[in-house]
């Protein structure tokens, strides 16, 4: 009995050691898998080619509470890297740039994100990070500034607008929400609006102060402030909708993620609640009609700072997306939402465009700081162009607000998405309102 256990113990130890050793060996191989360093297309040029390898960390949520949208975003990021590595990215002086990237699933846990951040910084010395959520990005923003790492996130939190190294190719949540309020005001002056969101979640809360401030300005009456849990069941959603119905709203703002908002719209259909839903950017995409059912047709709209890829099929950007999907080996079936895919792709594209503006010496010498400079050069100069997928973006030092153009995507009676807008809020600084409300 005892000796059996000894053998079992030794066996386990050996297995553990072998696994660890194997992993270490794998690790010691430089990650060359990303792409070949020479391009056969330039046949004839026999001279040795210089290649700049840019290390980039990617933080995504594939197993946590936001994985429902995080998955397509991660695919977009990955496909973008593959696409650009294959197509070739060159600095201003024509030196080839190849990205080495490491994808980490931090499961929406900021502590994990911080661990991976350290790994990126200390082990790989990354120059840039393509990130994800609000809490983690805000948490890491100061470190990123200190370590001169450009941080492009999928969180469009207003707090990140003023952080020196944080960028995103879209207006912030509150600017988007203000656009929604403006759209509501234009549809029905004096409209009654109920806010539905999770009162205990950072993402859901972030645009609320701006909405309240701007609504007062444009004459939209906020008649209710109702809690809708992120982890809702139909029963919970119904409860919230009943509470909202009591306020007799013309419009309802849903500030949660897609699952929770879809349940809310479903519940509204079931209870025969009136009013149009206007849904925050992460709460609405192409999958919404399917998730919320036919009852959502004609009564739902989503806020989007991007063109839905399907609506701009003849654009340059869409062509690139399709090609990136092909290169990464994804079929249409693999990507649930092209919008999320595009969001990931755009974040990488922004990085690529910044690098293309630099010459090789500046890039190698300045690393993250140089990329930041390049991004901020758009303030006075040429904006970054996204081939029709999103409006051109400009970043000014101290205020990284790409643009203020927002579309409202209405789910029509026919079950198809109709784009309205663009809407620009020029008469109010929503970022400032948010920052002042909760510092």
């Amino acid at each position: 009995m005892v000796s059996k256990a000894v053998y079992a113990g030794i066996a386990i130890l050996i297995i553990v050691l072998v696994v660890v050793a194997g992993l270490l060996m794998l690790r010691s191989q430089p990650s060359m898998h990303v792409s070949p360093t020479t391009t056969p297309t330039e046949a004839g040029v026999v001279a040795e080619k210089r290649v700049i390898r840019v290390p980039v960390g990617v933080l995504v949520d594939l197993s946590g509470p936001t994985s429902g949208v995080g998955r397509d975003y991660a695919k977009g990021v990955e496909a973008a890297f593959k696409y650009f590595n294959e197509k070739g990215v060159y600095t201003r002086d024509g030196v080839r740039v190849v990205f080495d990237y490491w994808v980490r699933d931090y499961a929406y846990n900021p502590t994990r994100a911080e661990e991976f951040y350290r790994e990126f910084r200390d082990k790989y010395g990354v120059w840039a990070i393509i990130g994800w959520g609000t809490a983690d990005t805000e948490k890491l923003s100061d470190s990123a500034a200190r370590d001169h790492i450009v941080y492009i996130s999928a969180s469009y939190s207003a707090k990140l607008v003023v952080k020196p190294y944080n960028f995103f190719p879209a207006p912030d949540y509150s600017t988007q929400a203000c656009a929604a309020v403006r759209w509501i005001a234009s549809k029905k002056p004096g409209a009654r609006l109920v806010l539905l969101y999770d009162h205990n979640a950072a993402y859901s809360r972030s645009p609320i102060p701006a909405i309240k401030a701007y609504a007062a300005k444009v004459g939209v009456n906020i008649v209710g402030d109702v809690h809708l849990p992120l982890k809702a069941t139909e029963a919970d959603a119904e409860k919230s909708i009943r509470e909202a119905m009591a306020k007799n709203p013309d419009y309802l703002w849903c500030g949660n993620t897609i699952r929770s908002c879809a349940l809310a719209v479903k519940a509204a259909t079931k209870l025969g609640a009136k009013g149009m839903f206007v849904i925050n950017v992460w709460g609405f995409d192409e999958r919404f009609p399917e998730l919320a059912g036919k009852g959502s047709y004609g009564r739902t709209a989503g806020v989007s700072p991007f063109r839905y890829p399907e609506t701009v099929r003849d654009s340059e950007g869409y062509r690139m997306l399709v090609e990136a999907m092909k290169i990464a080996g994804y079929s249409d079936k693999d990507v649930g939402s092209m919008l999320r895919f595009a969001q990931g792709f755009l974040n990488v594209w922004l990085l690529v465009q910044a690098i293309e503006r630099l010459d090789s010496t500046t890039l190698v010498k300045g690393k993250g700081a140089a990329i930041k400079q390049a991004l901020e050069s758009s303030c006075q100069g040429e904006p970054f162009d996204f081939g029709g997928l999103a409006p051109p973006a400009r970043y000014c030092p101290g205020r990284h607000l790409a643009h203020t153009t927002v579309w409202i995507v209405v789910l029509g009676e026919d079950g198809r998405l109709h784009v309205e807008g663009p809407i620009e809020v020029t008469d109010f600084d929503c970022v400032k309102a948010t920052l002042e409300a909760g510092g």
Partner: protein, 295 residues
Amino acid sequence: MDTLYLIANTAFQALVMGFIYAALALGYNIVYRVSKAVNLAEPEIVVFTAYVVFVLSAYYHVPIPAAFTLSLALGFGVGVALERLLARPLRGRPVAALMAATLGAYYVLRGMSMVVSRGFEMGSLGLPETYYSIGPVRASLSDFIAICVSLSVIVGIVLMHRYTRLGIAMRAVSEDAFGASAYGLPVTVLTMLSWGIAGVVSAAAAFALAAKAQVSPMLDFYAIKALAASLLAGLDSIAGVVVGGLVLGFMEQFGSLALDPILPGLGNQLAFIVMLVVLLFKPYGLFGTERIERV
């Protein structure tokens, strides 16, 4: 708004959720009866089987009833595997060891759900949207599906335990495995079968839950909440889960109705407060036998 309307609808939703919680709690109790341990892997069995139904129907176009049946079979398989791999080798060791091992299984199952779901794709089961008005109550097809599935599972299990020889033998084993084995009852097989049945119950509850809350990795949260129903009923009670589940459902729905304006979200956490209170004052629940070991 009409108070009657409000109360009737809240009560109806409480009823639906109550039955779902009851079915989830039943999964815990069946395992507890034979192995005297709480199967902490159940929340992930729920996620796993719910995803199986979703993936089969959404990607492979298997009709929902067939996908559901398959998921039941899979739930049975998972339950049996857990018994074979965890409960049997750990027989005779402290119960805490088995519970810790089920936590290990929780991890394994989560990994498996990720693979099955291709990285937690979310989705709805795509049940037909049909709505009914019964007096002041608005009900949807998914409400009825949730009630029917969970209720039929509970009733089925109760009847089985009451009237079939297999069920009676299971009750015998749950009361005294040692004695049962002395009389030649196939304790090992019955224990395995119980775990398997618990898996089936969890899979059925998962379907009911998915009908009400869509398919997502968050489903485990509700299964953890159902522990409160299980405790309230008494861990070794079978029919008591109905009361436990309904109490929880009503408490949660009316609780969040009353509490949300004051402390948003507290209503959804009431289950855990119930758990603590039950553990402190009535650890054997409302219907559990008081044989629970005391210090």
